[in-house]
Symmetry: D2
Subunit: 435 residues, 4 copies
């Protein structure tokens, strides 16, 4: 069945195109810095925002008009899969991501849920082959159901821990079945509502136990894909354990998970934690932990997760620069964890919204690549830190100095000149790349 | 010389006292939970806020009226020391803290600064003996001088690194000379103004090198006091490396500093990072890294460091509960990194401000101790997590389960009942302790 | 039908009561400053949080266990009314508030909705008589339905304006029928998602037209109750027109609505706007516009509306002081626009949560009354502003001075002494009232 | 005397120029939409940031290298005036702004300050003629000196009110003498540190009295320039009375000041109040109160005033669109209330920083003009609100409807279709204008 008969394949038509249903910056097979844009960007569509979101918010019910509702839940579920692959195909996007609950009905028992998942993943597997699409990552939704009100791996109730373990085992099985490139953990309820009634130590220990079980199981079945933690500071919980990249890395290292766990960095979550997107990417990158990204945008005046489609070309250019410096994201990619505004009610908006996000990243890739080709930022850094390339600086970096030797040096070199950084000039020069 | 002839010793007069120059809650030698209040709280006064602050802010010059200005810088410096110990004595506070630049003029060369420090620490040492006062910690100010505009250990200029090393060597020497209980690092400029021109990896590596030099030197001279990092997220820098407790711990562990480095947690800094004070204390405590605290308060509507004297008895009670659970802070303590409002211009306010902070902590200690005696929170936790004391929960905690075994369990236990946490009731019951 | 057979009437048992189902501070008929606590506080329960909320949040479905679901929507609707008055009665609370959609099913047409409202308000009217309860205010929900996605009175679609007008006419009719004391407007969607596509001028003009129609109609039917605007800065919209008290007052005065419109001030909304609750109350009070309050609490680290039950006795004491200075709220009152945490799943929590809020306000009333009896704050103000009671200050206040006369004065009085405010001392003395 | 001998006049060299000391977008005499860029933008330099700032911040002393320090204060003051006009001239900027204290030493008495102002304004008047430069606005600094610790017009001390009146009289005299286009009030300390000790009503009444005196005096001397209030929400005060545009307008209208008072809107202050810059401009514009703007940028993660030079071309384009819709700012203009980063220590940065800001506005003007020429946003609005152009919508706007008539209409038109806003598409199309 097809659902978007009025939409044709979205093609690259160049900057000056007036056709809303075209790419103005994304030319999938164009080569930039030795790789095609497709390979650089590895775009993915999110099943939840694309297929199951309805435009509801805490103060309003759904608004989106969709034509894939069937007579039964099962029929709706299948129609969604049809529509999703039609979109992927027409958008020329190679990857997708989903939660278990996005693709299958949970039924009345865990067994029933598993059966539904089996049926739907058979269907999806066929479609992946038919359309030549790949699974960037899947995950288990362990935050929507009431049982998870106090967390999953960090629940105070051991039965909930067990239930979550079952969901994740199934998720890893599905990852193997669909040949997923990564497996993601977003700990939506792993955190606390109030510190007062929280056994913080036990909860974090349990979360680590949970992750080690996941490692053990994936090793056992021979599906050693990267596991990705997605940091978020707050909402729905008052405080979430994976607050930001640094906090998640602290946890990963403390519990010796670093060989298998990397990070899935999200723009909106960075903002909520008081950081820029590029900061979180840098922290992950410098710790060899930049796994994948969730692309979206937050208006910084707002204190909750809005998951807007990205459009800020200045900051996305800095983000793309981090990705280039990371030598790309592969096996990770760029997943649009972005939802249409509640007022974008038309099915067309699914296409228009994703085009806006894709072109924002494509334009930013072009800008970042040019910055790199010009060595614009590299030259600034080289000059700025040159004192560490020789003399006392080199000796410090090589570990040859001590407080005593440096005191001797400082007593003789205590009149220090400070060079200007000219930051105002640098920032506006970056703007010049955003053409 | 004395400077507060109108002020008598501040004494405990009980709750109903109408005398502003009395303690209404702090009774130093009263025993609570087996320790004197004095031992529990280990209060310290900060030399900078008490002696050198002048009431200036970014939009205004100094307002405080002080009578210790002499005819020369040296005379003023000495008068300050006299006045400071007079205050410590009249307040009945046992400890103090200072930056190097608080106590001595920096002169025109590093050598001159060192000479001035030697002279002033001789004087302070004598006063410590005379008044029976102790040094909680000292530190080096590596953020005020222009040379530190780009950081100290994380400066792009190796000569600045060397200068900072010399200051810290001297600081550790002073700590030994004055028998300090801890040594603190607040990395005021260790961070970035813009990520664009920052070599994040090199800067953090250098910061670690710096700290290892400090460890090596203190080992060498046989003065192995705890080194404390004080987290702060931003201001003056756009982003500071020691963003919060979790981030600082991530750094400490990554660079293998955990044996000697702990945290000095500040209330206002917690707020600026989007946390509660008790959260930061919990994170530190659960990682065996709660070293000491900087006591102050932030109005949460404000986005900069206001260092208000603490008065929020609800949150300070939760903070004191963390401290009791930590079995106290010793060898750390509670340092009032708190400054008078710009409008509190009178010398009397030095006393009134500190009394307000001390009584806030003393009242909160009384409340927290009662909560502990009643096992009020302990009982809540015991009941809430009881599923991990036996059965499947116990088996999880003991490491005996796997995703497969838990899947089997979950398939048989998939109807889970969620008990209420009754949080509203718990919170208002805590209020009942704040009498 | 009764729904809480295990709950007895909640009675005042005094501070030391260990019975969770008792008031420890609220003694309804106890007289304070010449009025009963009941008259001072005029507590109301909110139909929506109490009866229709289910514990869902943006990331999770409902969690609350409720026993009033019937076989049909109509039966459920009626059961809710039964349960609600049982709660009001057992809590000994005199007032209640509701949205139209809380009490009646919207059916498939506007006429059907009106018919359902007629039927349910007949039932509610009988119950009000039976239980001796009063309607503090009702309102129309003009934000949940998809038609309101772009606002109600400020929608870009005139048909939506008309629909909203019909809902408000019915709301005012219901207010008259049930003898309501006030009528409230919370403009949930009156604002913009993006300024780019917004005709700001037309939308605000339309909102004013809408309010004038409401005035005209209420005049016509002889039901001239106060109309109350409830400010909120953001969420669900990016920016809401009634941002805060000052903004709403600006609108009210610009459009000449001040004779009939006052404000309903909410604690959580104050926080989201960057203000304290007491600030918003002061702004309203000083403009003769303090109509009523929505009582709840926001953890200030969180950037969305959490509607927590109030427990912060320091700030609620300052709020109650504003209310005392306003000579009370009558015909307004204190409505608990407060919801149980998602983890407070038990029906008992309905009682425990409201007891916590009621006792917080009762305890704070006691503290504020004592502050007033002692003239504690009044004396501070009198002394602080005494320069305006005589001399040049009096002459300024009386409008007798000009820039020229004051220049003459200033040239002769240019050495000005600044007295300390002693704020640290004042704040901790307020704490002393919170016993 | 000249101070920038190595800097030549800054000229427009077009987008592709690699010369840092050139304009790439600002071509002063180029005509856009019928006006020269010079007339559109009316750029001004701020005396304070340009001449008196030293790079200090709350945690650090000054860092800027400047060559205009003389042997005496008077000589330095005069050198600054020389240097300032050299910069204005080399930058080809037509306007400037200053505080009284920026240009003259305050001496030891008010009379001495006035004498110094007379001398310096004689000098400046000559220079204005010599260089053909104009005064956009001047203002009185009533926040730095200790006397203003509790405010100026809102001080609790009537002598301070008088002193402030004298400063403002002198400021208006200077405005007349130098033929200023506007006169500005930024109420740096007009607000409260704590609501507890504040007589809010008296303080606001006094502020209004103060402004009426200013109107009366300017009328009397025949210098009826616009008076501009500059909103800012907080810092240095906990809460400032001119919180944002809406709050300032509420005050202006309440006290009947609207005929002479407009607003000076600042970008950074908008952010601190939780608004976008374009929002504040819209509020001012729709109330016929957009007087002038202070151009700068805030990184939205930061909670204090950073006054960064603007570089965000997306938001400045929206700001310029508001200015075009306002038919320009004349007699207001665009003043760079922007300071160099503390690390931009070189005198060259004065030029580089201002070039970055000027080119950002120039590029944004080009983008906004193109949006306007294409009617891009106008068409969106026309279509979106078309329901108010005829039928029931027209009738509503014309004031012909009532709740009753609309109820009748709604009962017959209760099935309402909601059109998509396609916001994602609109936003990314705006990006396409930023070339």
């Amino acid at each position: 069945m097809t659902f978007f008969n009025n939409i044709k394949e979205i093609k690259y038509e160049g900057k000056d195109s007036k056709n809303p249903f075209s790419y103005r910056y994304y030319s999938p097979n164009e080569v930039i810095l030795g790789k095609s844009m497709r390979e650089h960007l590895r775009f993915a569509l999110a099943y939840w925002h694309t297929m199951t979101a309805d435009g509801s918010d805490p103060f309003g019910v759904g608004t989106y008009k969709r034509n894939w509702f069937g007579r039964t839940t099962k029929e709706t579920t299948k129609n969604r899969a049809d529509a999703f692959f039609e979109i992927l195909s027409k958008m020329n996007v190679d990857f997708f991501c989903f939660h278990d609950v996005d693709i299958a009905d949970q039924g009345n028992s865990l067994q029933e849920f598993f059966d539904n998942l089996d049926e739907m993943t058979d269907i999806i597997k066929d479609k992946m082959k038919e359309y030549d699409k790949k699974l960037l990552w899947n995950t288990a939704n362990m935050f929507t159901h009431p049982r998870y009100v106090n967390g999953a791996a960090t629940s105070n109730n051991a039965d909930v821990f067990a239930y979550a373990a079952a969901q994740v085992k199934k998720g890893i099985d599905i990852s193997k079945k669909l040949n997923g490139d990564n497996y993601v953990f977003w700990g939506g309820r792993e955190g606390y509502e109030s510190l007062i009634n929280t056994n913080y130590g036990l909860e974090l220990d349990n979360m680590a136990r949970f992750f080690h079980m996941a490692i053990d199981y994936s090793d056992k079945i021979g599906h050693k894909v990267p596991f990705l933690i997605e940091p978020k500071p707050k909402e729905p919980m008052t405080h979430q354990y994976d607050f930001d990249a640094a906090t998640a890395l602290s946890f990963i290292n403390k519990y010796d998970l670093q060989d298998r766990f990397k990070l899935n960095i999200e723009g909106n979550h960075a903002s909520l934690a008081g950081h820029t997107f590029e900061h979180e990417l840098r922290v992950a990158r410098e710790n060899n932990a930049l796994g994948s990204i969730d692309a979206n945008h937050a208006e910084c005046q707002l204190g909750w997760d809005t998951d807007e489609f990205p459009y800020d070309i200045f900051h996305i250019t800095l983000a793309m620069y981090e990705i280039l410096e990371n030598d790309g994201l592969n096996p990770g990619g760029i997943n649009f964890d972005a939802k249409l505004r509640r007022t974008s009610t038309s099915p067309d908006d699914i296409f228009l919204g994703h085009i806006s996000g894709i072109d924002t990243f494509a334009r930013s890739l072009r800008a970042a690549a040019k910055i790199k080709e010009d060595n614009f930022l590299e030259n600034i850094l080289d000059k700025r830190y040159e004192s560490y390339d020789s003399g006392i600086g080199k000796s410090i970096v090589e570990g040859k100095e001590s407080l005593e030797s440096l005191t001797k040096y400082a007593l003789e070199h205590d009149q220090i000149n400070v060079e200007s950084n000219h930051l105002e000039y640098i920032k506006v020069r970056i703007n010049d790349y955003l053409v």
